[in-house]
Amino acid sequence: MPLLPLDKLQAGMRTAAPVLDAAGTLLVKQGAEVTAELVERLRNRKITFLDVLEPGASMPSAADQAGEGRGSEAALAHAFEKASGNEVMRALYECAVAHLKARHGGIAR
């Protein structure tokens, strides 16, 4: 799913992920169709890029998304594997996992 600047968006594309503001308020739901009005609304909110699906691409299912989260969690576990003997790194790992889970739970994206 490409991350595109607003001026490269085309009608018919759909948002690949929900768009939230810095406070976590939902601005655009996942799967919304890209329209001129939507682009204008995002521009007014100073949002410059959008995660989109190409026209015709299928929407990832909730199970796919959960899988993506699990894949990322596995990538984190692997990255930190050799760092587990360090107290700071252990604390960072735990917070990074919590952060990732919150993101895939829809708090921030």
């Binding site: 991350l3 600047p5 810095a22 100073k46 949002i47 410059t48 890029f49 990322s72 990538a75 984190l76 692997h78 990255a79 930190f80 594997e81 050799k82 760092a83 360090n86 107290e87 700071v88 790194m89 604390a91 960072l92 790992y93 917070c95 990074a96 919590a98 952060h99 990732l100 993101r103 921030a108």
Partner: protein
Amino acid sequence: MTIETTDRVRRVVDRIAGLPTLPAILSSINRLMVNPRTSAKEVAQLISSDPSITSKVLRVVNSSFYGFPNRISTVTHAIVILGFNTVKSIVLSTSIFDALKKSGKSGAFDRLAFWRHSIGVGACSRVLAKRLGFTALEEFFIAGLLHDVGKIIMDTYLPEDFHAVLKRVQDQDCLMVEAEQSTLGVTHADLGGWLLGRWNLSAGLVESVTHHHNPALAGESLRAAAIVHFGDILARALLIGSGGDRRIPIVSDAAWGALGIKSEAFPGILTECQEESERAMIFLEFVK
């Protein structure tokens, strides 16, 4: 850098011809800025003489990275609002992308993931610098943006060596810096610092890039190098892009001491770094 490392870097860079250069406009801006009587209008006139750089500067200053509610339509306006140093840093950042955006030759290095990681480290370094009370935040963004520039030198000018490094990373599942040391005897940090020195960038930038894997060696620039070092770790913990390996470096004791951060602050720092990185991805436009 030790004499031995300097010699090894020299032996490697002697094999490189036609290194990227930065545009002459940057040294002209520096010349103007050392004069305290220089006005915003003079610097703006100089920048505006290059339409490509002007449009990029305006694109960045109007993005959510700076978050101004009203549109900034001239370079003079940008300088008045953001200051000379910030605008100069934006010119430098966009020029760096221009100088380095051509594709690599090793064929196995994901440049887009690399730039995402670099922008992420720039954003995380900026967040850390702000939390630690630094004011020249753009310098930290650029240090993070450039911390791995040595990998681009290898990918572009030493493709066979770099291919061997990537193969070692894959076979041994180690950090890129470890594979470089055992394959080439020099690291991307050594080569990156050397290039920044050639570009006449500040000593603080050169030292923080050269020592981002070992801030204890950064001398007076310890805190700056520690910020980039931990910015790299944070960007990896947030899985932002990829620098080419799948491991995370262990925080150096010297860096952790110099930063003075408490691990209780991690949740807030991670959230702030994530948001700052997403805003900073505006710079990805300039590598495509």
